[in-house]
């Protein structure tokens, strides 16, 4: 097998590749700015510079030439090489800053060059704390600068587009953002303008940087030159907790990081997942973080005698629901599941009503034709359409829903987290004769029309799985506390600095940010006290139960999903699509 010697250590490699990527794959460190594994290699930051050489080959003997000590004679390249663009070659010898003084000096020199025109405004820069330039300068940079002249001044705080703001002085011209729009989103909206130390990225003549993926350039910017208009000046990186999650605003289900502070989601950024979204994520998914904070249903709401909705207690909600259930036959109950809710919620929802004798279960797909693209947006706007279908719910088109309601004349309607009044021909007048129970996360038209509203947890408050448009099951991890969960007790939840050192009496901990809601399955266990069939204690248990009943979920566990960033399901296996 071909071999390479890095800092006197021998490594073997199978695939051709570049030295920098090989070093990163093998856990070695080397500073770099412009390189990105998913973009082309411009080798322009010159930071990953190493000394490299090849052994001298003796063509006559067919072996490498040896010196008197019996060691290979190495012919070094005349210049220091950038590891990012250097191809792996059999027998290659590489010296990094660990073993070569010249390389160490060259890397420090390069950082000195980068910093001479950099404003060094870290205290007021949003990138501080997660800034490769800051980190690498501390690690590899010179102790000070010998630059005594005026720095080059460039435009600051330019609104490039609706979501991205540019500070040209901070730019180190790595061109990652330009390459992103050229190679990944293919909108070609950014380019570098001007020359030399005066250059910076810009859109062409007054064009607006409205790329649907524009915020990815903020992620990959190795300095604070591109910042998010939305997240700017809101939170410091070290104040936030970072929890893995998935994007539930679209059927693609990108892997995400959910950044929370004081139980508010501050931002959502992509999490690397080779099978789904690579390093990227659409802007719409990032900005959907507001739905987790704003307009949330907290505490059950009840509409007594068709008057205004009022807040009520969980006990009252439970008793009201029991009363209503006692009044009707199972045939008078209409149950509508949701492609927006998780597999576990939909499963327990269905199981509960099956136990009451209900036989027909529907869901309303949420597809916007033409909304998708061939990158990371699908026409399907719901995160779990395939999941709710696999559980045996029948698809029902928006225009057919009123017919079902008028013909079946249900007395009791249950709707799981889905704004169906907004997306179908159904209106609140259709539901006038029925008692409508809405189990949801956010206030919307449907919740306002309901007689009873049960607040349930969102994807950032519970552990639950969703099946994306490609049949991949992925799960979320609670990132945000509800009134009934606690980071210190739930080991899955991440602990940030404020959580560690804050108490509920500190001014940076706001109890109001904790929503009074519980997972849908938990409410069902409350409705059935003492029952063995509905005695779940965690969503993990529910998934195990589903796995025992439905073939496609067999053997699917949270552990495996965590390990492999989701599991590809074979949905053809035993689910057939029921449509009405």
């Amino acid at each position: 097998m071909p071999e390479i010697f890095i800092d006197h250590k021998r490594y073997e490699f199978e695939q051709p590749g570049k030295v920098l990527q090989f070093m990163l794959d093998n856990g070695m460190d080397l500073p770099f700015f412009c390189y990105h594994p998913s973009l082309s290699i411009p080798a322009n930051c010159r930071q990953c510079i190493v000394k490299a050489g090849m052994p001298v080959f003796d063509r006559d003997r067919g072996t490498f030439k040896l010196d008197e000590k019996g060691e290979r004679i190495i012919r070094f390249f005349p210049k220091l090489m950038t590891a990012c663009s250097l191809d792996l070659a059999d027998g290659m010898v590489v010296y990094t800053h660990h073993t070569d003084e010249l390389v160490k000096q060259a890397q420090a020199d390069n950082l000195e060059f980068i910093l001479i025109n950099h404003p060094l405004d870290c205290p007021i820069c949003d990138q501080a704390g997660e800034c490769p330039l800051q980190i690498l300068t501390y690690k590899y940079g010179p102790e000070g600068s010998r630059f005594e002249h005026k720095k080059v001044h460039k435009p600051k705080a330019i609104q490039l587009g609706p979501r991205v703001i540019l500070d040209a002085e901070r730019c180190i011209n790595c061109t990652r953002c330009v390459r992103f729009t050229d190679e990944i989103s293919k909108t070609h909206q950014l380019t570098i303008i001007s020359r030399g130390d005066k250059n910076y990225p810009m859109t062409a003549n007054d064009q607006v940087f409205d790329d649907p993926y524009s915020l990815n350039t903020v992620d990959i910017c190795p300095v604070g030159a591109l910042t998010s208009a939305d997240f700017r000046f809101k939170a410091r990186v070290w104040e936030m907790n970072q929890t893995p999650g998935i994007d539930i605003s679209n059927g693609k289900g990108c892997s995400t990081w959910v950044w929370t502070r004081d139980n508010l989601v501050m931002r959502i950024t992509p999490r690397f997942n080779e099978a789904v979204n690579d390093h990227w994520m659409p802007d719409s998914g990032r900005l959907s973080y507001r739905t987790f904070n704003e307009n949330r249903i907290s505490k059950p709401w009840l509409r007594p005698d068709n008057k205004e909705q009022v807040r009520t207690t969980w006990n009252n909600a439970e008793l009201t629901l029991r009363e209503e259930l006692d009044k009707v036959e199972s045939s008078q109950i209409l149950v509508i599941g949701s492609p927006h809710a998780s597999v576990e919620d939909n499963y327990t929802f269905k199981k509960y009503f099956e136990s009451l004798g209900v036989t027909d279960f529907y869901y309303l797909p949420h597809v916007v034709p033409g909304a998708g693209d061939d990158l990371l947006l699908s026409d399907d706007q719901a995160p779990n359409t395939l999941g709710v279908r696999a559980l045996g719910y029948s698809e029902i088109a928006g225009d057919k829903l009123p017919k079902i309601v008028t013909s079946a004349k249900p007395k009791l309607v249950f709707i799981l987290d889905d704004d169906i009044l907004d997306r179908s021909d159904l209106t609140s007048s259709h539901l006038e004769d029925a008692f409508t129970v809405y189990w949801g996360t956010n206030h919307n038209g449907t919740s306002l029309a309901a007689n009873l509203v049960i607040p349930i947890t969102t994807a950032v408050e519970h552990a639950a799985s969703y099946i994306n448009v490609d049949g991949r099951i992925q799960r979320t991890v609670p990132a945000k506390e509800t009134l009934y969960t606690n980071r210190r007790l739930n080991l899955e939840m991440s602990m940030g600095r404020l959580d560690h050192y804050g108490t509920k009496f500190d001014n940076w901990v706001t109890d109001a940010n904790r929503i009074d809601c519980i997972p849908a399955w938990e409410f069902i266990t409350r409705l059935n006290p003492g029952s063995d069939t509905f005695a779940w204690e965690s969503s993990r248990q529910i998934l195990a139960e589903i796995g025992g009943k439905l073939n496609i979920f067999r053997g699917v566990t949270y552990e495996q999903m965590d390990e492999e960033n989701g599991i590809q399901l074979n949905l053809e296996q035993d689910s057939e699509v029921n449509t009405v």
């Binding site: 290699i41 411009p42 080798a43 322009n44 930051c45 010159r46 930071q47 510079i49 005349p78 210049k79 220091l80 950038t82 663009s85 060259a106 020199d109 390069n110 000195e112 060059f113 980068i114 001479i116 025109n117 010998r146 630059f147 002249h149 005026k150 080059v152 180190i172 011209n173 061109t175 380019t191 570098i192 001007s194 020359r195 030399g196 130390d197 005066k198 250059n199």
Partner: protein
């Protein structure tokens, strides 16, 4: 040095009236080399043409001095897909103004050379990249190209053979860096003029990812001479290691500056004193920049016996470059001159690589400080340190080109720099 330089008859720019007209050029043995090759295809297979040019050892006139035939031989075998010849007429190095003479007075020699090169490398598209400031010369060349098309030297089935070739001119937009071969290709492709990372070399992946050869205009103008009279004849012109005629662009404080054609390897003092008429106003020679602004300047006392060929200049401590000699008399302020050169490189750095982008600006600012009399002695050491950190750390050679004049002029004219500097005063702890 050839002793008979006074009797030398110019080959690239012969003194013939209206040579730029195709009829005049044809009368004066024009397009005969091409005709000869296309007539006897068995004798002059593409490989044989390459071998002949390789033997003639035409050293690239664009600055690097690489054997043109050897460069051609790097082109891979044709695979039926496009491959390109790009002719570099960007001529952006300060002190260089020779290619415009070819466009103006003998464009057909270059066109014929380019066609032969295309034939040898089995290329059917030639791009001529000319700097945008050369608008009149682009027009002149375009007129010559149109004439060549009319006469059937360019276009489909050249002179009735099965060899076809198209030639297009392309105007640059004023960037020095686009004279660098890989950024020239980027510019031709309509992109920003950023040099490319090598490898892959242009012969492997050039224009639009296809094999491409880039040659200087003057280099290609030498090709018809070689093919017409043979490599052996060509090798007899000038020194063995650097044969052929060279267009010396001599500028500066001279009585008769201009472009002069003589064999390579002319003695520098002969060029200054006899060809260009000596230093004007009877002043003394102080320094010489031998081949465009990026080549290290030489002090007058270093020029003893040095001739204009790559090896002799290397031994003297400089480079041949484009043979654009800048002659400086005793009144020249070296600090001012080097600052101006630095200003140019600061302005022209494309901004891709860190050491060049920020280093050129740092050099310029520090030199301006010294020029304005605010410099300190430590700034000279700083300048040398910056140069040392820029050299060889970038994708293309612009960083080296910017660093060398500074480094070598501080080295060679240090007392002059020191005179402008204040003594460094260090704070006592």
């Amino acid at each position: 040095m050839p002793n008979d330089w006074k009797s030398y008859k110019p080959l690239l720019l012969p003194a013939i009236k209206d040579l730029h007209e195709i009829s005049v050029y044809e009368k004066n043995n024009g397009y005969q080399a091409l005709r000869k090759i296309l007539k006897d295809r068995a004798m002059w297979s593409p490989q044989n043409v390459i071998n002949e040019v390789k033997t003639a050892n035409i050293r690239g006139r664009g600055g690097a001095g690489f054997n043109a035939g050897l460069k051609w031989s790097f082109m891979p075998e044709p695979d039926g897909k496009p491959r390109y010849l790009a002719c570099n007429g960007d001529e952006s190095e300060p002190g260089t103004f020779k290619d415009r003479k070819i466009f103006e007075f003998n464009p057909h020699l270059f066109i014929e050379g380019a066609i032969i090169a295309a034939y040898a490398m089995q290329i059917d598209v030639i791009y001529v990249y000319i700097r945008g400031e050369y608008r009149p010369f682009v027009k002149m060349l375009q007129r010559a190209i149109d004439q060549a098309y009319e006469k059937g030297y360019l276009g489909k089935k050249v002179l009735g053979s099965d060899f076809s070739v198209e030639m297009y001119t392309h105007m640059g937009a004023g960037a020095y860096i686009c004279g660098e071969e890989s950024s020239l290709m980027e510019s031709l492709e309509g992109k920003r003029g950023y040099p490319r990372v090598k490898p892959p070399f242009p012969a492997q992946r050039g224009l639009w990812g296809r094999p491409t050869t880039i040659n200087n205009i003057e280099t290609l103008a030498n090709v018809p001479l070689v093919m017409d009279k043979g490599a052996d004849w060509y090798l007899k012109i000038g020194p063995d290691t650097h044969p052929g005629p060279v267009l010396y662009g001599i500028s500066g404080h001279l009585k008769r500056p201009g472009v002069y054609e003589y064999p390579a390897g002319m003695n520098i003092m002969t060029l200054i004193n006899e060809v260009a008429g000596g230093i004007r106003e009877g002043k003394k020679l102080k320094a010489l920049i031998p081949g465009g602004s990026s080549t290290p300047p030489l002090r007058a006392d270093m020029l003893e016996g040095v001739s204009m060929d790559a090896n002799s200049l290397r031994d003297a401590g400089s480079m041949m470059g484009t043979a654009g000699m800048v002659v400086l008399d005793e009144d020249t302020d070296m600090v001012d001159l080097i600052w101006r050169i630095s200003y140019f490189y600061d302005h022209e750095s494309c901004g891709q690589c860190t050491p060049c982008r920020d280093g050129t600006g740092w050099l310029e600012k520090t030199l301006r400080k010294i020029k304005n009399g605010d410099g300190e002695l430590r700034d000279l050491d700083l300048l040398l340190a910056i140069c040392h950190r820029m050299e060889g750390r970038t994708i293309c050679a612009l960083a080296d080109a910017a660093a060398w004049p500074v480094r070598y002029s501080i080295d060679r004219f240090r007392d002059e720099f020191e005179r402008k500097c204040k003594k460094t005063v260090y704070a006592v702890a």
